[in-house]
């Protein structure tokens, strides 16, 4: 068992296995592993490294060989990355079978080990064309995303689906000999970002918007929009830097970001800004003569019906991840036959958000 573990560890962690400027560069606290081939015959390897649950999954996979082998390769690098991370930082030694990779309901891989809960590292896995990579960090609250794509010939017009006109004009400034490479880097940046937020690109490719690409450092800045932002509202107004690199016919991309463990309470102004923004979204096809302002009243001026109010209230609770007594508020308004302005709603939300008030600007750590 150890012999195998070490051989996997060695083959992936030797410097020759790392791409030039690999994702270890910007994130020294992470462990990155790469494998270009299965180190053993697949079923032997599966017996040696998979947990019983993973073994059952392996046994029932109906996919073509390429897919099955890449899945196994992915488990292999993930376990190797977690093992070497625990060894390096905590002096803990686990066998591969003691580490299980279990997808959460959205499909994001979570590490489950025989260790105590707070010690479950965060991981991201990618595979393409017979190669697999994994990136692991110790912080269970870290968001990790990694992607890998082969530089094989792709249809040129894939850019028209994958990128917005703005993003294509970013590509148009590049010289033709590197354009294909950077199109793929931008694609990989979107994929890594999708994995880091844990929801993939389900919100739509164009909602992962690329603001900037720095050819000197390889960093690509991605900003979430619309549906993608709904999935992680805490990233509003943030542009996150995804690292990309080219090595031996593959493009790699990786991002790690941390959210402050303590959720800071938003200021009243931030709540108001959010409510005005949300109102704008909810009522975008409603054609108002005047713009929505803090003094606008929901029912008489903005034409809200009870269901619209429920939709808005649900959205607010989801956004702040905090239940608030909206049912009472709406019932009271109904009984007293009065209306509710956005200002009053802001006060209501402000009152019911717990936690210490925050002064100054956003202090969330985002790398």
């Amino acid at each position: 068992m150890n012999a195998l573990g070490n051989s996997v560890y060695d083959s992936s962690a030797t410097p020759s296995g790392l791409p030039a400027g690999c994702p270890l560069g910007p994130w020294p606290q992470s462990v990155y592993c790469r494998l270009d081939a299965l180190p053993y015959e697949p079923n032997v390897l599966a017996d040696l490294i998979l947990s019983p649950g993973e073994g059952a999954q392996w046994g029932s996979m109906r996919a073509v060989e390429k897919r099955r082998h890449e899945w196994l390769l992915g488990r292999c690098v993930a376990k190797a990355a977690v093992r070497s991370l625990l060894e390096r930082d905590l002096d803990l030694y686990l066998s591969p079978t003691e580490i299980e990779i279990v997808p959460d309901p959205y499909g994001r891989p979570l590490v489950s080990t025989t260790l105590q809960e707070p010690l479950q590292p965060s991981i991201s896995i990618a595979h393409s064309h017979g190669t697999a990579v994994a990136l692991a960090v110790l912080d269970p609250n870290a968001h990790v995303g990694i992607d890998l794509e082969s530089l094989t010939h792709r249809r040129q017009d894939f850019e028209t689906i994958a990128f917005s006109p703005d993003e294509r004009s970013l590509l148009a400034t590049l010289s033709p000999d590197v354009r294909g490479e950077w199109a793929l880097r931008m694609w990989c940046a979107k994929e890594a970002m999708g994995k880091a937020i844990g929801r993939g690109l389900s919100a739509g490719l164009l909602n992962f918007h690329i603001n900037r690409a720095d050819s000197a450092s390889g960093f690509i800045e991605v900003e979430l929009r619309h549906g993608a932002l709904e999935q992680c509202p805490q990233l509003r107004g943030k542009s996150l830097a995804v690292y990309t690199a080219l090595a031996s016919n593959f493009i790699f991309s990786a991002i790690i970001y941390q959210q402050g463990a303590v959720r800071m309470r938003p200021s009243r102004q931030e709540i108001l800004d959010y409510l005005l923004h949300k109102m704008g979204e909810l009522t975008q096809d409603w054609d108002y003569p005047d713009p929505v302002s803090p003094a606008s009243r929901l029912f008489t001026e903005l034409g809200f019906e009870s269901l619209d109010a429920v939709v808005l209230c649900t959205a607010i609770q989801e956004h702040y991840q905090t239940p608030m007594p909206f049912a009472e508020l709406l019932a009271e308004i109904g009984q007293q036959q009065r209306d509710l302005s956005i200002d009053e709603l802001t006060d209501f939300v402000d009152t019911h958000l717990g936690g210490p008030a925050r002064s100054g600007n956003v202090t969330r750590r985002v790398q």
């Binding site: 109906r62 996919a63 073509v64 390429k66 897919r67 997808p103 959460d104 309901p105 959205y106 499909g107 393409s128 064309h129 794509e149 792709r154 249809r155 017009d157 894939f158 028209t160 689906i161 994958a162 694609w187 994929e191 690109l201 389900s202 919100a203 739509g204 490719l205 164009l206 619309h226 549906g227 709904e230 909810l282 019906e305 009870s306 269901l307 429920v310 939709v311 808005l312 649900t314 959205a315 609770q317 989801e318 956004h319 049912a327 709406l330 019932a331 109904g334």
Partner: protein, 191 residues
């Protein structure tokens, strides 16, 4: 097997370099080895060959934008409302597909199924006219998502799959969800 299925199976087989006989209605594209960029390639080839414009996100995402958060999906699982919408939308899914707890990631089994794609293509193709509306002449693909009549030269722009999906969801929302939700809200208010 329909004509659409055969044509789509050819696209898949060519793109993934597998034999067309491996492509069946209940095959998952990923089980045939498709990676994310392969799906993009299959999307583009499908659009070109069928003269349609596929949506860039699943019907659940589009519906989520219209219904608002927490209604169709909560913490990674479909709500009863979400199951209701999807079983209405995806008649090709097995009867037991939406029973019990359904995680969002389990839906990949349907969204990546060849049969689901075929049904989606058939649905969208209805919006692509075979004949010119003004003169009845044959239509041919023109620039981008436009089609041109070979006889009179009249041009039309195809509607996007996303737009068509939104329309379906809005109609479903107004016809089926809104009355149910309003009844629920007034029942709560009375209490």
């Amino acid at each position: 097997m329909t004509e659409v299925f055969d044509k789509f199976a050819q696209i898949v087989a060519k793109s993934l370099r597998v034999d067309a006989s491996q492509v069946a209605p209940d095959t998952l594209l990923t089980d045939l080895g498709a990676e994310s960029l392969d799906l993009i390639e299959i999307t583009m080839e499908t659009e070109t060959q069928f003269h349609i414009f596929l949506p860039d996100k699943s019907i659940l995402e589009t519906a989520g934008e219209i219904f608002g958060p927490g209604i169709l999906e909560k913490d990674g699982y479909l709500t009863e409302e979400g199951k209701r919408l999807l079983s209405r939308r995806m008649p090709e899914a097995d009867a037991q597909a939406f029973e019990g707890q359904v995680a969002i990631q389990d839906l990949q089994h349907y969204f990546l199924k060849v049969g689901t794609w075929v049904r989606m293509i058939e649905g969208l193709a209805q919006y692509t006219p075979a004949e010119c509306e003004s003169c009845g002449g044959p239509m041919a693909a023109s620039m981008g998502f436009r089609m041109k009549c070979e006889k009179c030269g009249g041009e039309i722009t195809l509607r996007s799959g996303e737009e068509i999906n939104r329309e379906w969801v809005r109609e479903y929302y107004d016809r089926e969800y809104r009355p149910r939700a309003e009844a629920l809200v007034s029942a709560t208010a009375v209490q």
